[in-house]
Symmetry: C2
Subunit: 341 residues, 2 copies
């Protein structure tokens, strides 16, 4: 049988209360005694029984997720995964709160963060838009002992405990490689369609993509990125105009949201079918575009995985328990028509 606190107490020659004090980092134990208890713990291989501890503690994890109010389908997917997670959260004493703030609006995010009652919330995950005010708000929370995870979009490392999302620079390079390889011998121009360059992840993908194309595919030339601002109408208009103007576009990189607009334009003329397209985010639309041969590849981050990972990471911080690093790594997934899930 597994050893219990009683066994540890016996082994260390101290009382159960002392073991409890050591285990829960309560004060009032001499360093020497602490060492003795810890030695006994190691000797016996004692591991705290989480079930019993949770039961006794009556702990409830109040996790707050702050996400941009959904315009694009990726964020809608993320929200959907959050509500899914909410269904199961009862099972492990977790209460998920979802707070929506205006997209791309650092001040709105800061207001949300500033409004958090540190006594009520045990952990926060947010899709970050960075600003000085946001950073200050994060500092306050962390000083109150609240762990912070950024989701999808990051802030500087110093202001959060975990980043849950992909390496956007690598993602941009990946897109470049795919387009370069798929285009093959042909030469020509590559169009870039972004949501907004104000968002760090889009900017990073874009820069990395351009650099990789320049460095490795001399036959290709990147056109200046157009910014669709997560709006299908705007994206459609800008892209249609661009493709109308530029005659030798052989590739297109859709950096973020706005796939619907891209698909609309690409299906509008037969001659556009030859363009090699790599897009981001797997949604119903982009899946269909893959099946139809409009998109050649889609780069994805698994929103469900991200939500579950953020929850696990925050809880691990709260409880000071270890984490399985591999399980928390968010992959840069590549999908083509044949490996759709």
């Amino acid at each position: 049988m597994r050893p219990t606190v009683h066994d540890v107490a016996g082994e260390a020659g101290v009382s159960l209360a002392t073991v409890d004090r050591v285990l829960n980092r309560r004060s009032g134990v001499r360093a020497e005694t602490v060492a003795r208890v810890n030695a006994a713990i190691v000797r016996l291989g004692y591991v705290r029984d989480i079930s019993a501890a949770n039961l006794a503690k009556q702990r409830v994890y109040n996790l707050l997720f702050i996400v941009p109010e959904g315009s694009n389908s990726f964020m809608l997917g993320l929200e959907n995964e959050l509500s899914q997670a909410k269904l199961y959260s009862v099972l492990d004493r977790t209460h998920l709160d979802i707070h929506k703030v205006k997209t791309f609006d650092a001040d709105a995010l800061a207001v949300a963060l500033e409004g958090i009652d540190a006594g009520q919330v045990s952990g926060v995950a947010l899709v970050a838009t960075e600003s000085e005010r946001v950073r200050r708000a994060l500092v306050r929370l962390r000083e109150a002992g609240i762990p912070i995870a950024t989701l999808v979009s990051d802030v500087s490392e110093a202001y959060r405990d975990h980043y849950v999302g992909i390496d956007n620079i690598a993602a941009g390079r990946t897109a470049a490689s795919l387009i370069g390889r798929f285009v093959g011998e042909r030469t020509g121009k590559v169009a870039l369609v972004a949501g907004s360059m104000l968002v760090k992840d889009h900017a990073e993908r874009c820069a990395a993509f351009e650099q990789a194309i320049r460095g490795e595919f001399p036959g290709l030339e990147c056109l200046p990125a157009i910014e669709g601002r997560d709006d299908a109408v705007v994206t459609r208009a800008l892209l249609a105009e661009l493709l109308d103007r530029e005659r030798d576009v052989v590739g297109l990189y859709s950096i973020g949201a706005g796939n619907r607009g891209v698909i609309d334009v690409l299906t509008s003329r037969a001659e556009y079918r030859g363009i090699t397209v790599v897009a981001h985010e797997l949604t119903d639309h982009s899946k269909q575009a893959l099946r139809d041969g409009i998109f050649d590849a889609v780069i994805n981050q698994d929103a469900g995985h991200e939500v579950r990972s953020a929850i696990r990471l925050l809880k691990a911080r709260i409880d000071d328990t270890p984490v399985i690093a591999n399980q928390e790594a968010i992959r840069i997934e590549i999908y083509i028509r044949d490996n759709l899930p």
Copy 2:
């Protein structure tokens, strides 16, 4: 606060003992009373507290993993993930037993399965080699109420509760698309390097690959697959001979284990560098081959994910609890140089 069994008893107007009988499916409760209790459970939204239940039950999950004794690096990786999982398994009352059997040997597997004491083991996961005797052994276990999960390699659906692994037909098609697209305008032959065609997953990948190449890339022609039997020396010899003989090989699909042998041969002559290569399984060797430009893409299934998923699925079966389907889907991962984890 969350409702407890006491609340349910009150709401249903029965005693705690009756609620307990209903919850744990014990006999001696009239159907009508059962209905009343269940109605109360629904009304209150009662959910059993797993922590408390586990504590009271003193349940220990004894899970047995049967894996082929590792020759190839994928299986070694799987074993490694299993030992990793073992470290954390103490935390949730799970005991993992790992049993190794001779590779590709259905009888050895059957012997292992037949030797299982149904009273001691609560769930079994196995890398399957199918045979009549194996099927019989699985039937016996399932009749004893032991859930079965197949790992990486499947048996017919009727003989197991879950399959944890990728769709190998889709994987073969994926490889075909990648090679076809990467090769581009060039025409020529494609070499296939398998472990053994006796293993279902290799056979499936191979067949799907050949069919996809035939159907979609008329400029390419598949050579008969060579079987390296998971042995670097054999693979090396066969492949070297093949490439020496065939003059216009433009693509190579490494279907399973044996990547080391493939890499050896491909680096042996400068002229082989032009061959487009897609391989299976991400290991240190294949990662390096991607970085060096020897491999163009690697298709992978995440062994760690598979192990954790199998554990979750078996436990869910044992406890009769729900499962998050998306979390358990094993992806056909595509890696190129730029999106390595």
